[in-house]
């Protein structure tokens, strides 16, 4: 908990810094805030941030690095030969840590004095038993070298913690003092603070890049393994997807890609018109009350767990479709086009329903943001509301709407449960929407969670699928960006 108090102290310092900095600035301007370069609060923020941010950063780094250093120091105390075969130094170290924590707890609970904890010898006392009494379970009796290591570990951690507290406090005070010293009426506090904020904004934006790098890296290695075991020509250009347990499976992405596209397109064909019309109705026609109820209600659709949609597809929508397109003479259309409840259409329709709020809610916000003057201009020319919406409002709201549709499409590509239950698990090329098919994402999940040997191409293919999908969607997004750029219409 020292960290907790340290953080609390930092926050307190930074709050104090805010007021002191603000005051000092005001004093330097002789109490007249108008003589200051920036608003007084910016001087406060400057001091507060200078005290807080570097100190917090140091604290974070310290917390990451200290255990590593201590681990290294302590692990050198464990003689090589005492590590039993098959075990590792890492494992012994976790034992060390557990004992050290147990001792800490014992001291904290008063079951032991500091002194005792420091001088305890496993040769003479039953450490496991004593720790067991206070609820610290150990896997085995404590060996002397482990106990000694644990004691060193405690000492080092203590020293480390003290050093950390001192250093962090120094940095905080340093930051405080430096920025406090700089506080003067001519100091450009706003610019500095804003630059700080801008840096934070950039940091936030670059997180996306880091995530992407992380994703690619976490899949690249296994993808390479996959391609060393399986021919890439089959993966990219083969026509069959048929994993089996004996190896030598056909693992081609093409039928999966086809299924993914087909199902996503159907889902979007359901979600986009319904979502868009709902958004238009909500923002252009509906009364305030209707809107304030209908919109959040529709949003619930996005929060219903997909397993419910899966069951809905399997038990309700699928059989309903079969009644239409199947059952031969007994069916409603008297045709025999569909045998099972699972089909591309089933999954697509149900997924489309789930995606309605993705399109409707966001589009509604964007449409609502189009200035009224645009509508007035059109209505004033004798346009009907629908003409206004279609020809003036929608083009103006296009970038946002494309964003919403992309979001829905993305979700459609990433969905698994609905596909598994609604579309089946068979990969095939077919134009018939009443056939079962499957998607890349569901195959990723099932190959990753299946029973095939984890080093086999049948499992590793999941990574190759993931990476390929990543590249494909990247292409789609580039296209979307291009379209938005081309058709964007800026109002005002």
């Amino acid at each position: 908990m020292p960290t907790f108090w340290l953080v609390l102290a930092l926050i307190a310092l930074s709050v104090a810094g805010f007021f002191l900095g603000r005051n000092r600035a005001l004093v330097s301007a002789g109490g007249n805030s108008k003589d200051l370069h920036s608003l007084p609060s910016y001087y406060g923020h400057n001091v507060a941030l200078s005290a807080l941010v570097p100190a917090l950063a140091l604290l974070a780094i310290w917390l990451l690095v200290q255990p590593m250093i201590i681990d290294q120091r302590v692990s050198s105390m464990i003689p090589e030969e005492t590590i039993s075969e098959g075990s590792t130094i890492g494992l012994v170290m976790s034992d060390v840590r557990r004992v050290a924590e147990g001792l800490d707890l014992a001291v904290a609970e008063g079951a032991m004095t500091q002194e005792q904890a420091r001088n305890l010898r496993s040769e003479f006392s039953d450490v496991r038993g004593r720790l067991g009494e206070i609820g610290v379970a150990l896997g085995a009796d404590v060996r002397p070298e482990v106990l000694r290591a644990a004691q060193t570990y405690r000492t080092l951690s203590n020293t480390g913690n003290i050093a950390m507290t001192v250093m962090v406090a120094l940095v905080a005070l340093g930051g405080f003092g430096w920025s406090y010293g700089r506080t003067h009426k001519d100091f450009r506090a706003r610019n500095v603070v804003e630059q700080g904020i801008l840096a934070l904004l950039i940091l936030a934006a670059s997180l996306a890049i880091l995530t992407t790098i992380g994703i690619v890296l976490s899949m690249l290695f296994e993808t390479r393994n996959f391609f060393s075991l399986h021919s890439w020509t089959d993966f990219f250009f083969g026509g069959t997807w048929a994993p089996n347990f004996r190896g030598d499976s056909d693992l081609s992405i093409l039928p999966l890609l086809w299924g993914t596209l087909y199902i996503s397109v159907i889902a979007l064909l359901v979600a986009v018109p319904i979502g868009l019309f709902a958004a238009i109705y909500l923002s252009e026609y509906a009364s305030k009350t209707t809107r304030s109820f209908a919109k959040p209600l529709l949003e619930i659709l996005a929060g219903i767990p997909t397993i419910v949609y899966g069951l809905f597809a399997l038990l309700t929508v699928g059989p309903a479709l079969v009644r239409f397109f199947g059952q031969g003479e007994n069916g409603i259309l008297g045709v025999e086009w569909m045998s099972g409840a699972t089909s591309v259409l089933t999954a697509g329709v149900v997924m489309g329903i789930m995606l309605i709020p993705f399109v409707s809610s966001l589009s509604d916000d964007i449409i609502n943001a189009v200035p009224q003057a645009m509508r007035d201009g059109s209505l004033g020319l004798g346009a009907t509301r629908s003409e206004t919406v279609r020809q003036v409002v929608m083009p103006a709201a296009l970038p946002g709407i494309v964003g919403a549709v992309l979001l829905a499409a993305s979700r459609a590509i990433g969905e698994t449960m609905i596909v598994v239950m609604g579309a089946g698990a068979i990969a095939k090329f077919s134009l018939n929407p009443l056939d079962s098919m499957t998607t890349i994402t569901t195959r990723i999940v099932s190959q990753l969670t299946g029973d095939t040997d984890f080093a086999s191409p049948e499992t590793l293919v999941a990574f190759a699928l993931g990476l390929t999908l990543f590249v494909l969607t990247l292409g789609l997004n580039v296209l979307a960006l291009y379209i938005v750029r081309k058709y964007r219409e800026q109002y005002d």
Partner: protein
């Protein structure tokens, strides 16, 4: 990083119910915290098991199949050398259909003829022409063939292919024809044998038995593949078919009469014993008579108890690793 104090288990979803029953009882009866039992599949579990030795790796991997040679190698490369293999019993695989529908008495041949991509007609391989069960076997009713079988991710599928389809393939003589067609290549012939038709008659279920059940509810002609325990909990909705004349039950499977079953395992990382509190106690508790014996809660839930349980207990107690060195 704070030290971990509970046993961490991951792996097969087939073993999960048993492991969770054990974990629950373990938590109740011991001073150790309740172990965490994750599901995610045998292979995912073994993969995490083999990621290395250390606190941030799991201690036990559940598997509905034996660990493969390649996996042992991968394990060893990551430093996981001493693995204790524990067989806890058997999972029976049964064929069941809607309770109000027709009853069936199957043989592997029936299934091969119903589901294979190609069957032999007059000693020639042709695309499977069978539409109804009556086409397959004159004794069966003219009910449309609609099979819900485990998807290719499930270990059960492998058992189904080996013990049912392949057996049927050989019985009908199609195996020889396939072998001929593939120039005497046995492997290719086996692969051809287990290729199933893709015209919608045979439906792969990637989800779980609940999904299979739901499918049968929405299509009364359907016949599905289930675990014995699942069937026993849903006897109000399902009727079970016999295989080669044997009714599946814990007894008939334990004696080996009923052919379609598979062993269930868990694997313990020996290096973690003595480090992770409660690990050994958990393993011993799992295979104790009270728990895994024929009257224990596992068997009550549907596990086919291992006739050689005593041997297993001994092996766990002595921490005997695979490959013999203890």
């Amino acid at each position: 990083a704070a030290a971990r104090d509970q046993v961490q288990v991951a792996g097969s979803s087939t073993v999960l119910p048993y492991a969770s029953i054990v974990a629950e009882a373990f938590g109740e009866n011991f001073d150790f915290p309740t172990p965490v039992v994750e599901s995610g599949g045998s292979s995912a579990g073994l993969k995490r098991f083999c990621e290395g030795v250390g606190e941030n790796t799991i201690d036990v991997a559940n598997a509905s199949r034996a660990i493969k040679e390649k996996e042992i190698k991968a394990c060893a490369e990551a430093g996981v050398t001493d693995i204790i293999e524990v067989r806890i019993g058997y999972d029976g695989i049964v064929f069941a259909s809607d309770i109000n529908g027709n009853g069936f008495e199957f043989t592997p041949t029936d299934w091969f003829l119903a589901l294979s991509d190609k069957v032999s007609v007059d000693s020639k391989l042709v695309d499977n022409p069978n539409k109804t069960w009556a086409d397959v076997n004159g004794d069966f009713p003219a009910q449309a063939i609609q099979a819900f079988i485990p998807g290719t991710k499930h270990g059960t599928r492998e058992v189904f292919e080996e013990k049912v389809i392949l057996a049927g393939c050989e019985e009908t003589g199609a195996f020889e024809l396939f072998k001929e067609a593939n120039g005497g290549d046995e492997k290719a012939a086996e692969k051809a044998c287990i290729a199933l038709r893709t015209d919608g008659v045979s439906v792969d279920i990637d989800g779980d038995y609940t999904e299979t059940l739901a499918r049968i509810e929405s299509n009364k002609d359907g016949i599905g593949v289930f675990g014995l325990a699942f069937y026993e909990n849903n006897t109000d909705k399902l009727q079970v078919a016999t295989m080669s004349g044997i009714v599946p039950s814990t007894e008939s499977i334990a004696t080996g009469e009923y052919p379609v079953s598979r062993p269930l395992f868990f694997y313990v990382k020996k290096a973690h014993i003595g480090v992770i509190p409660g690990l050994k106690e958990y393993a011993e508790f799992f295979v104790s008579d009270e728990v895994a014996g024929p009257d224990g809660p596992l068997s009550e839930y549907g596990l086919v108890a291992d006739p050689e349980l005593a041997k297993t207990q001994e092996a766990v107690a002595s921490e005997a690793t695979m490959g013999g060195n203890s």
